[in-house]
Structure formats: structure tokens, C-alpha cells
């Protein structure tokens, strides 16, 4: 055996050869396997009765969607697509964060179910090459709508559209547009955008914080300083706080990452150490750390986007500024049927019940709840004007104006 080993070494039959042989066998097996079952992976079901399903589904929209009558007529009359829609969403984080990623995925899933559409999602893609790959994968599989659910996906989505690499698919991306601003990215029939008018719900959240604080110190813990929606929510929250409780102080901290719960907890604990007894946390995965710190210290926590009541063992969740993406996605699908996709931005706001406050914690006194409800109605009626920042400098200017800095 000893001589065999030395012989083998001498002829150079080594690791490389052995491993290369295994890999070649695996390649052959894989290719053979693929061709023997390729249809299984890529089959698309096209059936006539889908048109009927869509018609019925759209007819059920009359309560919430203004264009329903037209849409129903169009779909029923022409059967625009005449087949099952395929929709997909790509998200940067994990779809179990009770926030941005999970709400995005679940909202599209809900809408897809309603429309009888085939649904798929890709999570944990981060930024850089993986989300682009996922988008291209959906496009090559002929998905009708792919949602790029992150501000950071805009540039490569635009590039794909510009260079004509989206085939027959349509892409929906996040925009910063507010009513009255230019809707710069939309490309009819190809690229749609959706954006968030967040102030009308976060102002009452700030108002609630102002009424609930006993120490007169309230904190905002924001995951990143560049997120335009966080910036706008923080501004509205601060204005609401000032209106409810002019004596209250506001602490403002930026964690620096969407997905760093440990750091989120640490920074929140620091604010609590300074006396804050209501924390407004904005931060996808980071929110878990913020909530943890609030739970440990027994202080109120106001969340954003998702509903964390299921994991709120100690009942510290005061409320949450909920974002229901299904409002935008539903309208996008209707517009695809209608041939109207990509002609305008889809706004999610308090007005179309896409952004609103979660039912308040049962421990909130009735008079406080009533006041918050009144404030919400006033905002919706346009009686209260909320200043909207467009960058972090604007936010700090608002803080200075309010006397918080």
C-alpha cells in the first residue's frame, strides 16, 4: 500500500483529478435530469376559465377601487389577458420581519390569491447582484408583474427597462414621489412606481406618544438616516408630539443598518437610560432589537409597517403605523388588465386606507384614544398641515424649528 501511495503521487493523480471526476459526473447527471424533467419546472397553466375568475374577483372590488366598473367591463368584454397572471416580488430582507419585507410579500400574496394569479417571492436578496439575478429570473420565466420592493432596486430596474431587457414583463418599483411631485420613473406598459404618503398616520402616532409619556421624554430610533420614508415619518411624529405635549423632549438616534437588532437594542436602551418612556422604532430587522429593549425596560413601543402584536408578550406595543402594500399592488394588477399600467404612480396614503394606525393598545385611556382619533380625522380633512422633509437636513431643520435640537 505504501508503494501504491508513492506511485500515485508520482503520476500526479491527485485531489484535482478525483474531485473533477465527481463534478463531471454530477454535471452529466444534472443536465440529464434537467432535460428529462424540464417541462415540470417551467410549465405555465393557461386555462379559459381564468378570465371568469378575474371578472368575479374584480367585481368584488367595488367598495375600495374607484375604477372597478370600467375594469370589470373591459375584462369581461375582451378577456384582456385570457390567462392566469404570474406575479412575483423581490425583497432585500427576510420575509418574517413583521415589517417592510414581510408586509410586501404577504400583501402581494394576498392580492395574487384574490386575482387567482400565480405568486412567487424571493427574500434575503440584499443589494448588488442577487436582486438583479432574481428579477432577470422572473422575467425569463414570463412573470407578468415583478415588484422590486426596495428603494435600492430602482437603478437596475430602470437599466433593464431602458435596455429593453424586461421582455413582456412589467416591473413595479418603489418611488419617493409625493402628491404634487414629478412622477419621473413611470414608463407606460413597462414600469410602474408606488410611493408612500406617511405623514398622516405618523403625526397621530407622535400625538399619542405625547399624551402617553410620563417622563416627558420620547425617543425615535431610526434604522438608517437615508430612508426617505423614515425621515418623513420622524418629521411627522415630531410635529405630532409637539402638538400634544409641548413640554416633551425628543431624542433621535440612527442605528445605521436595517438589519442589526443588537445595535438597535443597544441604542434604544441608551435612550431609555436617558429617561425616554415611549419609543418610536423604524427599522425592519432592527425593530426586533428596539422592541426587545422596550420590553426589558417596560416602556411603550410604537412600531411601523407591520403588526407585532403576535410577539408582544408584555403588551408594550402602543400602536403601529401600518402600511398595506396590497392597495398599490391591487391597483397595479387592475391596470395591467386595463392596459393602464405605468401611466401614473400608485400612492399609498391615509386617504386610501393604505397607511393607518393599528388599533391602540387596550391600556390606552379612552380620552387619549378619542383625541388621537380626532387628530387623525383633522389631518384627513386637511385641517392640520404637516411639514414634509425631502432629506435628512430638512428633518433636522424641522427638529430645530420645533426646539428639539
Amino acid at each position: 500500500m505504501q508503494s501504491l501511495r508513492s506511485q500515485r503521487k508520482k503520476i500526479g493523480v491527485s485531489t484535482t483529478v478525483a474531485v473533477a471526476a465527481i463534478i463531471v459526473i454530477a454535471i452529466v447527471a444534472g443536465v440529464a435530469g434537467y432535460f428529462s424533467g424540464a417541462g415540470q419546472v417551467t410549465t405555465t397553466t393557461v386555462t379559459e376559465h381564468r378570465t371568469t375568475t378575474v371578472t368575479q374577483t374584480l367585481a368584488a372590488q367595488t367598495v375600495t377601487v374607484t375604477q372597478t366598473a370600467t375594469v370589470t367591463q373591459t375584462v369581461a368584454g375582451e378577456g384582456v389577458l385570457g390567462r392566469k397572471l404570474k406575479v412575483a416580488i423581490i425583497v432585500p430582507g427576510r420575509a418574517n420581519d413583521y415589517g417592510w419585507n414581510q408586509e410586501g410579500v404577504e400583501s402581494l400574496r394576498k392580492v395574487a390569491a384574490k386575482f387567482g394569479a400565480e405568486f412567487s417571492f424571493s427574500e434575503g436578496l440584499g443589494y448588488g447582484e442577487p436582486p438583479l439575478r432574481a428579477l432577470e429570473d422572473y422575467i425569463r420565466k414570463g412573470y407578468d408583474l415583478v415588484v422590486g420592493h426596495a428603494g435600492g432596486y430602482r437603478e437596475f430596474c430602470l437599466e433593464l427597462v431602458r435596455t429593453g431587457r424586461i421582455g413582456q414583463s412589467k416591473v413595479l418599483i418603489v418611488s419617493e414621489a409625493q402628491e404634487g411631485m414629478e412622477e419621473r420613473d413611470v414608463v407606460p406598459g413597462k414600469l410602474g412606481t408606488y410611493s408612500f404618503v406617511v405623514t398622516a398616520a405618523s403625526y397621530p402616532a407622535g400625538y399619542l406618544a405625547g399624551l402617553m409619556t410620563k417622563s416627558n421624554i420620547v425617543g425615535i430610533v431610526q434604522s438608517v438616516e437615508t430612508d426617505i420614508n423614515w425621515i418623513r415619518q420622524s418629521a411627522a411624529f415630531a410635529q405630532g408630539l409637539k402638538a400634544a405635549n409641548p413640554k416633551a423632549k425628543l431624542l433621535f438616534t440612527v442605528v445605521g443598518s436595517y438589519e442589526d437588532p443588537a445595535k438597535g437594542k443597544e441604542f434604544t436602551a441608551a435612550q431609555i437610560g436617558l429617561g425616554a418612556d415611549v419609543i418610536f422604532g423604524q427599522g425592519d430587522g432592527t425593530s426586533f432589537g428596539i422592541m426587545d429593549a422596550c420590553r426589558d425596560a417596560g416602556v411603550w413601543f410604537i412600531d411601523v409597517i407591520g403588526d407585532k402584536r403576535a410577539i408582544d408578550e408584555k403588551g408594550i406595543l402602543l400602536t403601529s403605523v401600518l402600511w398595506d402594500f396590497s392597495v398599490a399592488y391591487e391597483q397595479a394588477l387592475i391596470d395591467i388588465y386595463n392596459g393602464e399600467f405605468g401611466k401614473h404612480n400608485y400612492y399609498m396614503s391615509h386617504a386610501n386606507r393604505a397607511i393607518y394606525l393599528l388599533t391602540l393598545n387596550p391600556k390606552v385611556p379612552a380620552d387619549v384614544a378619542t383625541k388621537v382619533s380626532e387628530i387623525s380625522q383633522k389631518i384627513q380633512a386637511g385641517e392640520i398641515k404637516v411639514k414634509v422633509p425631502n432629506n435628512i437636513e430638512d428633518l433636522h431643520a424641522i427638529f430645530r424649528e420645533l426646539g428639539y435640537e
Binding site: 506511485q7 493523480v13 485531489t15 478525483a18 474531485v19 412575483a88 442577487p130
Partner: protein, 367 residues
């Protein structure tokens, strides 16, 4: 030497005849046993995880490899993903062979990409034959700059390079965040990204296939590295200090210089991986971009048993798992993170097999 020559002349067929096919296969596979145990065992252990979570392991693995190897899209994406793994793997080889540890490939890749981005936009729309080499050289400079402090500290004062190179990863991540959010921010984007590089700074595609030329850079580098370690004096000196530093000192080799060179070359190549990734695939940088290739390539190098040529099939295999896993999760519905579980299991089993091999050798020596 005479014996070797004789054996080559005998040829494989005669060898098979002399020793028997089974014996020859066994003796060939034995040195790679830890690697094979790692890969096969990792996938087998992954099957148990799949069974417990209600998925059919055969269908999952079939889908992974069918998606990666059985579609032109999979092959193209897999080749693109293989590129950074291969280039970083080669970069790491230079220090691992020399007995030094560069755990900062991630940071060097970030700096390489940053420098490439600055050059690819800052110099204006120059013609591609001028701009592309400049972009790649810039990325090499970025990688060198990022490993230089660790290399100097190790060579001059013997400060542990594992700690310094690893800490420089974090510095790179935060530097990227700062630069992308402030001075390098593309003003037309509300989400912070850098200014995209000009199209003339992008690596061209290989003729007829949607794979950029970065893959060729990786393949050429690994072949060059193999020759470097097999045939050059410097390569031989790296191997000596990596195998036995006392013997190297006794031979009169200038160890601090060799350590410095090994780390610097390693950083340069890892930086190049960042430049190729930016120029070939990404075009711009996001503040939250964290290239995990820097860490994924570390076990790859050991699974390839520090062999530059073996890195090619191994990076191919790893890229297949990564891309196949990514494409599979959209077909099967299994979370993409399962691929990370397989990688982890492979490493654990590889490490266990290596430990057993080491203990057996030790026992044999004692006897």
C-alpha cells in the same frame, strides 16, 4: 526523478494493469477523502434537514443542479458568480500557502470595487480599451491599500494578521456606507448609491454568451498561480515559510519580506475581484452591499487543499450551489438560506474529517 519519468512512460493503462483499477482509484481518492466527506456528507446531512422540514431531498438537489447546469440562464449566472469566488480563492491561496491568514478579503473586495467605481466614473467616458485596464488597476490599488497596514504590522512587529485583516473588514463596510451616503452619492437617486460607471468601463461579454470576461481573468489567474507556486523561486519560498518557518529561517530566507509580499499580493487579487465584480456585474455600489464572497472563499480554498487548479472545479461547484439554491427556492419554495446550511454542514464535516486524519497521523508517528 528517474522513477517518475519511468512511470510516466509506463502510462496509466499499465498502472491499472499492474495495481488493479480499484486499488488505483482508492489510492487516488484517499488524499481527497476529507474533501469528499465534506461535500457528500454535507449534502447527505442536508437531506436529513430537508426530510425533517417536509421537503423531498432528491427533488431539491435535482432542482438545484438542474437549474444551475440545465438552463442557459443558470450557466451564465453561475459562471458570473464563480468569478469572484475563484479570484478571491486565488488571492487567499497566496497567503495561506505562505502560512499567513488574510481574513479581510471582504474589505479588500469592497475597497477594490470602490476604487474601480471612482475610476470608472471619475475619469469620464474614455474609450473602453483605456478605461477598463485603468478600472482594474484601480481596484488592485484599492486592495493593496487595504491590506497594507496589516501586512506591515505582521511583517514588522508580528502582530496577528487574523485580527487586523478581519477588523479592516468592518472599517471597509463603514467606509463604504459613509462614502456612498455622502461624498460619492449619486444625486439623482433618492436611495443612496454611487454614480454608475460609464458603459465603456464595463467588462465586455464573451462572444455569443452572456458571461463577462471576468471569468477569463479568474481562469488565467488560477493557472498562473499554479505555475507560480510550482515553478518560481518566490512561489517555492512562500511554500517553505508556509510549511516550516523554522526551516525557512535556517535556509536564510527573509521571512518578513516574504510575509509582506504574500499578504500584499493576496490583498491585490482580492481587490481585483471587487473591481471585476463592479465592472462586470454591478456598475454602482449600494451602502448596504456586503460581499460575502470574501468569507465563502475561505473554506473553498481549504476544500481545494490549497491547489490553484483545484480551485476551478471547486469554485464552479460552490457557484452552482449558490445559484442553483437561489433559482431552486423560487421553484420549490424552500428558503434560499438552506444553501448556507449545506455550506455549514460541509465545513463541519470537512473539519471533522481533517481532525481525524491529523490524529491518526499523529498516532502513527508516535508508534
Amino acid at each position: 526523478m528517474k522513477n517518475k519519468k519511468d512511470l510516466v512512460e509506463l502510462g496509466i493503462e499499465k498502472l491499472v494493469g499492474k495495481f488493479g483499477l480499484t486499488n488505483l482509484l482508492v489510492s487516488s481518492i484517499k488524499p481527497a477523502l476529507s474533501t469528499i466527506i465534506g461535500i457528500v456528507g454535507g449534502m447527505a446531512a442536508g437531506s436529513i434537514v430537508l426530510l425533517f422540514t417536509g421537503f423531498d431531498p432528491v427533488y431539491v438537489y435535482y432542482t438545484i443542479f438542474a437549474q444551475a447546469w440545465g438552463t442557459s440562464f443558470g450557466i451564465s449566472k453561475m459562471s458570473i458568480t464563480m468569478m469572484p469566488l475563484l479570484i478571491i480563492g486565488v488571492g487567499l491561496l497566496f497567503c495561506f500557502k505562505a502560512g499567513t491568514w488574510n481574513i479581510g478579503a471582504q474589505g479588500q473586495m469592497i475597497l477594490g470595487a470602490l476604487f474601480a467605481n471612482i475610476a470608472g466614473y471619475g475619469l469620464g467616458p474614455l474609450p473602453a480599451p483605456i478605461l477598463i485596464p485603468i478600472v482594474l488597476i484601480a481596484s488592485v490599488v484599492g486592495g493593496i491599500l487595504w491590506i497594507l497596514p496589516a501586512a506591515v504590522m505582521k511583517a514588522k512587529w508580528g502582530i496577528n494578521e487574523v485580527v487586523t485583516t478581519m477588523l479592516f473588514n468592518f472599517l471597509a463596510i463603514f467606509l463604504l456606507m459613509y462614502l456612498v451616503k455622502s461624498p460619492l452619492r449619486y444625486p439623482q437617486e433618492y436611495h443612496p448609491i454611487t454614480q454608475p460607471i460609464y458603459h465603456s468601463a464595463q467588462l465586455p461579454m464573451l462572444p455569443g454568451i452572456p458571461i463577462h470576461t471576468g471569468l477569463l481573468i479568474g481562469l488565467v489567474l488560477s493557472i498562473f498561480t499554479y505555475i507560480f507556486f510550482a515553478k518560481t523561486t518566490l512561489g517555492f519560498q512562500f511554500r517553505i515559510i508556509g510549511s516550516n518557518i523554522k526551516a525557512a529561517r535556517y535556509c536564510g530566507l527573509h521571512i518578513p519580506y516574504l510575509i509582506f509580499y504574500s499578504l500584499t499580493i493576496s490583498g491585490a487579487i482580492c481587490g481585483l475581484a471587487g473591481g471585476v465584480q463592479l465592472s462586470g456585474t454591478m456598475r454602482f455600489l449600494d451602502p448596504d452591499w456586503v460581499p460575502w464572497y470574501g468569507f465563502q472563499a475561505v473554506p473553498l480554498v481549504f476544500l481545494a487543499r490549497l491547489n490553484a487548479l483545484a480551485l476551478i472545479p471547486f469554485s464552479f461547484f460552490f457557484a452552482s450551489l449558490l445559484i442553483g439554491g437561489d433559482l431552486m427556492h423560487r421553484v420549490v419554495g424552500l428558503p434560499v438560506f438552506f444553501v448556507d446550511v449545506i455550506f455549514g454542514l460541509m465545513l463541519i464535516l470537512f473539519a471533522a474529517a481533517e481532525s481525524i486524519r491529523y490524529l491518526r497521523l499523529k498516532k502513527r508517528k508516535e508508534r
